[in-house]
């Protein structure tokens, strides 16, 4: 057994691809060893901007020898058949054995395959892995055809600490395997020999000596520790953004944090604007005070060793760049507030929302109508304010600031509305109307915000479905799944009862469509199904898929467009089925349903839920009938209260049903009695189906 190190040196790998590439490399190498029948110990992967490596302990030196006996044709088979067998085994006629078997005398070949040495197998294995490496995007360079994420310069392969000869075919040239790594581009010009590398830690140590922290976790920790230490000394704390720290980790070989200052004059800019300039565009870490307010310090993580004079230059350069960015932002902030937000509206006519769906100006007009339509359904919602917010919601798209920082859409509109003297309800609704932007994002904070957000999402869903731009498979270019999920979350989390059919119809009418696309409600119900099934403990426990299906029921039925009701039914049903009565009732339902199904199949008709008490022969029939008759069911179960009382009523049915099946044979010889009993069971089915679609439950 011996250790295997594979290290690839290339030009800077995009930060966002590094972690995945290291995992892929480990998985592919370890998988290829397994496929080749080479057992091995544990593996570790490493990645830095220019280094990608995997270290595998205790790889077998060679494959096991294999000995195999293969039966051929009969000993007296025609020459042709024997020749074919010789060809397939690669043996000569006199190397075959003859053996008697219960079926006669047969030829046998004994084939011995010597296992290959690992060192003989590795070059091909590695070449194949590199040639098919799953980069999200790759390129060619120079005059060769080989593709890698960026130009690949070295393939270092060491087995048992020794360089492994081999070469990578680059398509128009070859890259010979080597055993020499390199250190930090600017801090360590000399090569680093990997000869004799004895462990993963040894490898990490050699590169550390060349100022490359090749262990990603170590580098990340160094960034967080270094930055935190600097910021703590300034009486503030780091505003932790995991994604940004990950990105910085992918941009440096040797992190060295420096503390910079934001000029006080810029601190009057909105927090989000400062964040966008500092974090998104310059990739600096921001700082905040105890109350979470941005403080005028930032951390830039340089890729150089500490050096006081150079650090000053680096910091001064970064501060100058930041100053220019903030001066730009300041300019837009002043300029955009010169005119009221409403004055920007005509310019929205120049922005096409989507081919066939008019301009953004048209969209704003539709949103104002739709938000007013939705407002009465939302508790505490001021319809006029919601309408006004909807009308202005898109106006910031033509502002200078959003032109520069598209991610500030909505937020800037909120600030500009506020600056123009709009009521707080309007400004807040504009600010929030894109929310929730993802699973981690919250809902709009106000009822008016909820109304505008719903209107915006529903308008997009109806519009894109209306022109056939529906999501297919993994393709969802207009983020309609997210829009549908946003509608669902807003309705459920704000407990809004908003049957969707009329709202979708109003939206379609605003577009001038003849009708709502047939697939849209089913699409939204499908998102509801998935979200109820997959939801995490934070928003209620997840519900088994068949229970969700039973609760959602028929997509055409009344109430099938009421998201809140459907979710309530799923919760109530899940709770009911978890109780003894519920479980027992389902058992009864199955017997009733299976008898009905069989008999209806034979009769080629369904049985009406009706029975004649005069034909009852047994007390159990009368008992079940009277119990059913005593239950007060609403004709349609469409509210939470009706649902709960319906469930409760069903719970009491369990006893009479059990007694019925214990003592009654449904298929009586007398056809009238038989049909009468089937009618009684159909009544049970009818009562239960009003509450949920029990046919969807699985055993």
């Amino acid at each position: 057994m011996a250790d295997l190190l594979i290290e690839l040196i290339c030009e800077e790998i995009p930060a966002r691809m590094q972690m995945r590439a290291a995992q892929d490399l480990e998985k592919l190498v370890s998988g290829a060893l397994n496929d080749a029948g080479l057992p091995h110990g544990s593996a570790r992967h490493f990645v830095a901007p220019r280094h990608l490596a995997v270290y595998i302990d205790d790889v077998a030196d060679r494959q096991e020898d294999v000995s195999e006996e293969r039966r051929g044709p009969r000993a007296d088979a025609p020459e042709q058949a024997i020749a074919g067998f010789l060809k397939s085994t690669g043996l000569a006629r006199d190397a075959l054995l003859e053996q008697d078997t219960p079926k006669g005398r047969f030829l046998f070949a004994r084939i011995e395959r010597k296992g290959s040495a690992t060192t003989a197998l590795l070059p091909d294995m590695i070449t194949r892995i590199l040639s098919d490496f799953p980069w999200p995007k790759s390129q060619r360079w120079g005059a060769t055809r080989f593709r890698w994420v960026r130009p690949l310069h070295r393939v270092n392969v060491l087995f048992d600490g020794a360089a492994l000869p081999g070469e990578l075919d680059m398509g128009g040239g070859a890259l010979a395997f080597s055993a020499t790594s390199c250190g930090h581009y600017f801090e360590h010009g000399d090569d680093i020999s990997l000869a004799g590398v004895a462990s993963a830690d040894d490898y990490v140590g050699r590169l550390r000596d060349g100022y490359v922290m090749v262990d990603r976790a170590e580098r990340r920790a160094a960034i967080v520790d270094g930055a935190s230490a600097l910021v703590d000394g300034q009486g503030a704390k780091l505003r932790v953004n995991e994604g940004l720290i990950d990105e910085i980790t992918g941009l440096v070989e040797w992190p060295h944090a420096l503390f910079g200052r934001i000029e006080d004059g810029f601190m009057s800019l909105p927090d989000e604007v400062l964040e966008a300039s500092i974090r998104v565009h310059q990739k600096y870490l921001t700082t905040e005070d105890e109350d979470g307010r941005l403080t005028p310090g930032f951390v830039v993580v340089s890729n150089r060793l500490a050096d006081a004079a150079r650090d000053d230059v680096i910091l001064a350069g970064n501060q100058r760049v930041l100053r220019a960015r903030l001066a730009d932002a300041e300019f837009f902030w002043q300029e955009d507030r010169q005119a009221p937000l409403a004055e920007a509206l005509p310019r929205l006519a120049d922005i096409v929302f989507y081919e066939g769906l008019g301009s953004v100006h048209d969209k704003a007009a539709r949103l104002a109508q739709l938000a007013a339509h939705i407002a009465p359904a939302i508790a505490g919602c001021d319809g006029a304010a919601a309408g006004e917010a909807a009308r202005l919601a898109k106006a910031d798209l033509v502002s200078g600031m959003v032109g520069e920082f598209p991610e500030l859409q909505g937020i800037m509109g909120g600030y500009y509305a506020e600056a123009g003297g709009a009521p707080a309800a309007v400004a807040s609704a504009i600010r929030d109307h894109y929310r929730p932007q993802g699973p981690a994002d919250g809902l709009p904070a106000t009822p008016e915000g909820l109304a505008v957000s719903l209107a915006d999402k529903i308008d997009s869903l109806v519009g894109f479905f209306g022109v056939g731009a529906k999501p297919t498979g993994s393709k969802d270019p207009f983020a309609l799944r997210r829009a549908a999920l946003g509608v669902i979350r807003i309705i459920l989390e704000s407990q809004t009862r908003l049957p969707l059919r009329p709202v979708l119809a109003a939206s379609a009418a605003a577009y001038g469509f003849a009708a709502v696309d047939d697939d849209l409600l089913a699409f939204i119900r499908e998102r509801l199904r998935v979200s109820l099934r997959d939801r995490d403990a934070g928003s209620g426990s997840s519900i088994a898929h068949d229970v969700v299906a039973a609760a959602l029921g028929d997509g055409m039925a009344e109430g099938s467009d009421d998201i809140l009701f459907l979710a309530e039914r799923a919760d109530a049903l899940a709770a009911f089925l978890g109780s003894d009565d519920g479980a027992g009732l389902v058992a009864g339902w199955r017997r009733a349903a299976s008898i009905l199904e069989a008999e209806e199949g034979k009769a080629k008709q369904s049985f009406a839920p009706a029975t004649d008490p005069a034909l009852f022969a047994l007390p159990a029939e009368t008992g079940l009938y009277e119990h059913l008759d005593s239950l007060s069911f609403s004709a349609k179960v469409l509210s939470r209260d009706e649902l709960l009382s319906g469930m409760q009523a069903l719970g009491t049915l369990r006893g009479p049903i059990d007694v019925f099946f214990d003592s009654v044979v449904v298929n009586d010889d007398d056809d009238k009695v038989r049909l009468n009993r089937l009618g009684l069971l159909a009544m049970v089915r009818d009562a239960m189906t009003r509450v949920a679609d029990f046919t969807k439950l699985e055993g």
Partner: protein
């Protein structure tokens, strides 16, 4: 606003430009002069667009290219934005194995010693929808400032580049501001000569042009005339490509014209978002057909030469 600032020797604007030329000349590049037409970026120069393709397996060129982006005009009032600026452009085909080292050497040649700064290669994939071109590479950061675009071309005019060229683009004003340490582009020291000896700063040379061209770009350009010119350029380009022996280079001139006219129309605000995509598509079609003609013509010329020599 008169010149008040003199930078250290060798870092005035024209020295930076001359030093870049000298550096790349030493690396074997053909030093060209700017193409004599209005273009939006150095990439449009036929020395890059067309030479990135074709059977000529070895091509190294460097040149400065005045670039016009009408929508970026700010009437001379913004310290960072100009409708006319200079790009320095290097094209090396095939991309050399030591591309990054060569590039870093060029920074050293203009007073940016890589050892004295924090230089980073940050992912930035480049794409030009009008040229039907794309490549992978980085923007190069120096102390947090983007100083160059570094791209391995993969396609131009929708055609695959083989071999692959390396394109380096330096935004000279931005680079010079960084090197000279000034916050306003108009303060840049152009020539290293003090004002009392007639020395010029960027303001002296270009401010009036920024004001007047911004006014033309945004307010006064005759849009009917521009639209007509666009159609004319498009037609002429098509006509030259339809000849029995297509004239790839003159046709490509018309393609560049159409592209710039589109930019002017865009600045005048007469192109809606939907139309925008359609116009870009029209220019891209011209570019693709010019590139195809260039390859075809180049192949024919090579055959002709072969025949002449044979």
């Amino acid at each position: 606003m008169a010149k008040t600032f003199i930078t250290r020797p060798g870092t005035d604007f024209q020295s930076i430009l001359l030093n870049l030329q000298a550096y790349w000349a030493k690396q074997g590049a053909v030093i060209l002069q700017p193409y004599d037409m209005e273009v939006g970026a150095g990439t449009f120069h036929p020395a890059t667009t067309l030479r990135a393709l074709g059977p000529d397996h070895h091509w190294r060129a460097a040149y400065v290219q005045p670039s016009r982006r009408p929508t970026d005009g700010r009437f001379g009032e913004n310290p960072n934005r100009l409708q006319h600026f200079y790009q320095f452009q290097t094209i090396f085909k095939p991309s050399p194995p030591d591309s990054q080292a060569l590039y870093l050497g060029s920074l050293g040649a203009i007073g940016l010693d890589p050892d004295a700064h924090d230089i980073r290669f940050v992912e930035d994939d480049w794409e030009s929808p009008t040229l039907g071109a794309w490549g992978l590479g980085w923007e190069v950061w120096c102390d947090g400032m983007e100083v160059s675009q570094f791209t391995y071309f993969q396609q131009v005019g929708g055609l695959e580049c083989d071999p692959v060229p390396l394109e380096l683009t330096y935004g000279l004003e931005r680079l010079a501001m960084f090197i000279q340490g000034v916050d306003n582009v108009y303060d840049l020291d152009w020539d290293g000569v003090p004002a009392d000896q007639g020395g010029k700063c960027y303001h002296d040379i270009f401010h009036r042009a920024e004001v007047e061209f911004s006014s033309w770009n945004f307010n006064h350009a005759d849009t009917d005339m521009l639209l007509q010119h666009f159609r004319d350029a498009e037609d002429e380009c098509g006509r030259l490509l339809a000849l029995a022996r297509p004239l790839a280079l003159p046709a490509y001139d018309q393609c560049m014209k159409a592209s710039h006219l589109f930019n002017l129309l865009d600045a005048r605000g007469v192109i809606s978002v939907t139309e925008r995509a359609a116009y870009i598509g029209r220019v891209r079609t011209l570019a693709r057909r010019c590139c195809e003609a260039w390859i075809g013509a180049a192949a024919t010329a090579a055959e002709g030469e072969g025949a002449a020599h044979g």
